[in-house]
Symmetry: C2
Subunit: 335 residues, 2 copies
DNA sequence: TTGTACGCGTTATCAT
DNA sequence: ATGATAACGCGTACAA
C-alpha cells in the first residue's frame, strides 16, 4: 500500500489534480457536487497532502518557531504552554527551541527556520549580537520579540516594563528599611535584565541610597547560579547586604536554598525578592515582581498570527505592567 | 537580491547542479579541486539548501518530534533539555509538542509528523488508545516510547521499572509503621502510573496490610490536582491516611501546599512521598523515588539516532531502576 | 569525475 | 468550472 497522493485521488475521482487541489485549498471555483464527491474520496482514503510538497510550492510552511532561553524555567514553560495552545488551535505547528541563552544556537535555529520556510518566529531569549541582527535582517517571515529589545533591529515586541519592575522591587526593600541591597542581576547581554537593574538604580537614587558596585553580581537566571551567589554571600567577610534583589525567581530560590543549608534565616537575617512570579514562588511564599504572563502570552500568540496574515501591518511594541507581590521572604529591617 | 539556489551556485562555478549537489551531500565522487572551488562559492554566497526541497526529494526531513504530556512538569523539561542537546548536536532539529495528556492532540501531532516527513518521533506521554495505535502503525519513521508501554504496538521503549518504584515507595512508608496509606495515583490510562500503583499494592500485600479502595484517587500529575487532593484529605471526616504516596513530585508539592495552608504539619501529622525527584523535590526536601533522568535521556537520544540510521535494528526495551531518596517529608508513625 | 534527465507532491497560471 | 502544464529546489539513477 503505497503512499496516496493527489494524483491518486484525482484519478479515482475522474478529475484533474487541479480540481482536487482546489477542494483542498478551499478554492471557491469548484462545483458543489464535484467538491462533495472529491471530499468523500479524500476522506475514505484518509488522504493528507504532503506539507513538504505544498511548502515547496507555496514557499511557506505552517510552522512557527518559538525560541526560548531555557525551557526549564517555569516562566518560559508556562508561556510556551499558553502560546502553543492558541497557535495550534489556528492550524500552526509550534516548534520549541531551547537556546540555552546561547546566541550561536539561536542563530543556528534561525538558519533552520529559513531553510524550512517557517511562517513565523517568536524569540524570547534574544540578546544583543551582531550575528543575530545580521540573520534577523535576512529572515523572510514575521518576527516577534518577547521581553527583549534589539536596538539594531526593528520588529514587533511584547514586553514587560522591566525598568519599573526593577524599580518597585528595590523600592519595596528600601521601604522596609534596607539600605544595603545586594543585586543578583541577569546576563549582561539581556536588555530586560539590564533594564531591571536600571530601575533598581533609579530607586536607590530617588531614595538617596548609595549604589554599590560590589553588591552587584550577574547570574545566568538558573537555580544553580542563585545557589552559588547565596553561598558566596554567606561566606563573605565584612559588609554584607541585608536584602537581595534576584533577577528572577529561579535565582531567588537558589539563594534561599543556600541560606537554608547554611542556617541563615529568611527573612529575619536576609530579605529576598524575586522576579516573574512562577508557581514555585507562590508555593514557597517568595516575595516577587509578577509578570502578567497570561495577558502577555495571549498577545504574543495573537499578534504573530496577525503579522503572518497581513504582512503589511507596521511594527509595534506592547508593554505590560509588573506588579509587586509581597509574601514571606521580605521583612522590615530591625535596628 | 533573490533567493540563491543550487542552480546559481552551479552556474557561477561553471559546473552542473549535480556536482554542486554532490559536494553538499558529501558524495565522494568529486575531484578535490572542484569540491574546494564549489565549496568556497557556496560559502561566499552563504548558500544554504532548502530543506523543504531536499525533504521532498529524499522523503525525509532532519527533524525529530518529541511529544510530551506537559512541558510544565520539570521532569519532562529536564529530559527535553538533555535530549534536545544531543539530537541538535547530531544535526537534527527537535520539535517539542505538548499534548496536555490529550490523546486527540497526540494523534494530531503524529499526523503532522507524517505530513512533514519527520525522521523520528519520541513519545513520552502516550497513553493507551485505539486511535493512537492506529496512526502509530501507519507511521513511516522510527518511534520511541518513554516510560510508556503500549500493548498493541511494538516499538523501542526506554522506561523505568515503575512497578518496583511503586513498591519501594510503599515499602518505605510501611517500614515507618504506616498502615493507612493514601494513594494519589496518576491517570488511569497511563501504564506507568498503573504499574506504580500495582507495585504499591504488591508491597501492601507482602506486608499484609489491607488495600483500601477508598484511599486511592487518580490525579492528572499537576500541582493543582495535588492541592485539591490535599484539601479534600484535610476536610474529610473519619478514617484518614497517615501517609500518602503521590504519583509524582508535582502532586506531592500540591498536597504539601494544601497542608501548609491548613496547618497540617508534615511529616509529623502526615508523611508524603513523591516520584521523579525533580529539582524542587530536593529543594523542598521531599522524600521521593528518583528516576535516573540523566541516563534515560542519554539512552533516548542515542537510541532514536541509531534507529534512524539503521532501520533494520529490532525493537528493544531499556529498563532503568528507580531509587528511594529519603528526605524530610516522611517520618516514623508515633503510636 | 562529471553531466543529463527525471521524479518528489503540490500549487498556480493560463487556457478552455 | 475544469484541465494541462509549468514552476518550486533538490537528489539521484544513468549515461558519458
Amino acid at each position: 500500500m503505497d503512499k496516496v497522493t493527489i494524483a491518486d485521488i484525482a484519478k479515482t475521482a475522474g478529475v484533474s489534480r487541479s480540481t482536487v487541489s482546489r477542494v483542498i485549498t478551499n478554492n471557491p471555483n469548484v462545483k458543489p457536487d464535484t467538491r462533495e464527491k472529491i471530499q468523500s474520496i479524500i476522506d475514505s482514503y484518509k488522504y493528507k497532502p504532503s506539507s513538504l510538497a505544498r511548502g515547496l510550492a507555496v514557499g511557506k510552511i505552517n510552522v512557527i518557531a518559538l525560541i526560548i532561553g531555557d525551557i526549564r524555567n517555569p516562566f518560559y514553560s508556562e508561556m510556551v504552554w499558553m502560546v502553543e495552545n492558541i497557535l495550534t488551535e489556528s492550524g500552526y505547528m509550534v516548534v520549541l527551541c531551547d537556546s540555552g541563552y546561547d546566541i550561536e544556537k539561536e542563530v543556528s535555529y534561525l538558519q533552520t527556520v529559513k531553510q524550512l520556510g517557517f511562517s513565523g518566529v517568536i524569540l524570547a531569549s534574544a540578546m544583543e549580537s551582531n550575528d543575530l541582527t545580521a540573520i534577523l535582517k535576512t529572515m523572510d517571515c514575521p518576527i516577534l520579540l518577547i521581553n527583549r529589545y534589539i536596538k539594531s533591529f526593528e520588529c514587533d515586541s511584547v514586553l514587560l516594563d522591566n525598568f519599573q519592575g526593577g524599580y518597585i522591587a528595590a523600592r519595596h526593600l528600601i521601604e522596609l528599611g534596607h539600605t544595603k541591597i545586594g543585586i543578583l542581576a541577569g546576563p549582561v547581554k539581556s536588555t530586560s535584565s539590564l533594564e531591571r537593574l536600571e530601575g533598581c538604580k533609579q530607586a536607590l537614587q530617588n531614595f538617596q541610597i548609595e549604589y554599590r558596585e560590589d553588591f552587584v553580581v550577574n547570574g545566568n537566571l538558573t537555580i544553580e547560579d542563585g545557589y552559588e551567589y547565596g553561598v558566596n554571600l554567606i561566606k563573605s567577610e565584612g559588609d554584607k547586604p541585608t536584602a537581595v534583589f534576584a533577577g528572577n525567581d529561579l535565582m531567588a530560590i537558589g539563594i534561599m536554598e543556600a541560606c537554608n543549608e547554611h542556617g541563615l534565616r529568611i527573612p529575619e537575617e536576609l530579605s529576598i525578592i524575586g522576579f516573574d512570579d512562577i508557581p514555585y514562588a507562590s508555593i514557597n511564599k517568595i516575595t516577587t515582581v509578577k509578570q502578567p504572563l497570561h495577558d502577555m502570552a495571549n498577545m504574543v500568540a495573537n499578534r504573530i498570527l496577525k503579522k503572518i496574515q497581513e504582512d503589511n501591518s507596521e511594527n509595534r511594541k506592547f508593554i505590560f505592567t509588573p506588579q509587586l507581590i509581597v509574601r514571606n521572604t521580605t521583612k522590615r529591617l530591625e535596628d
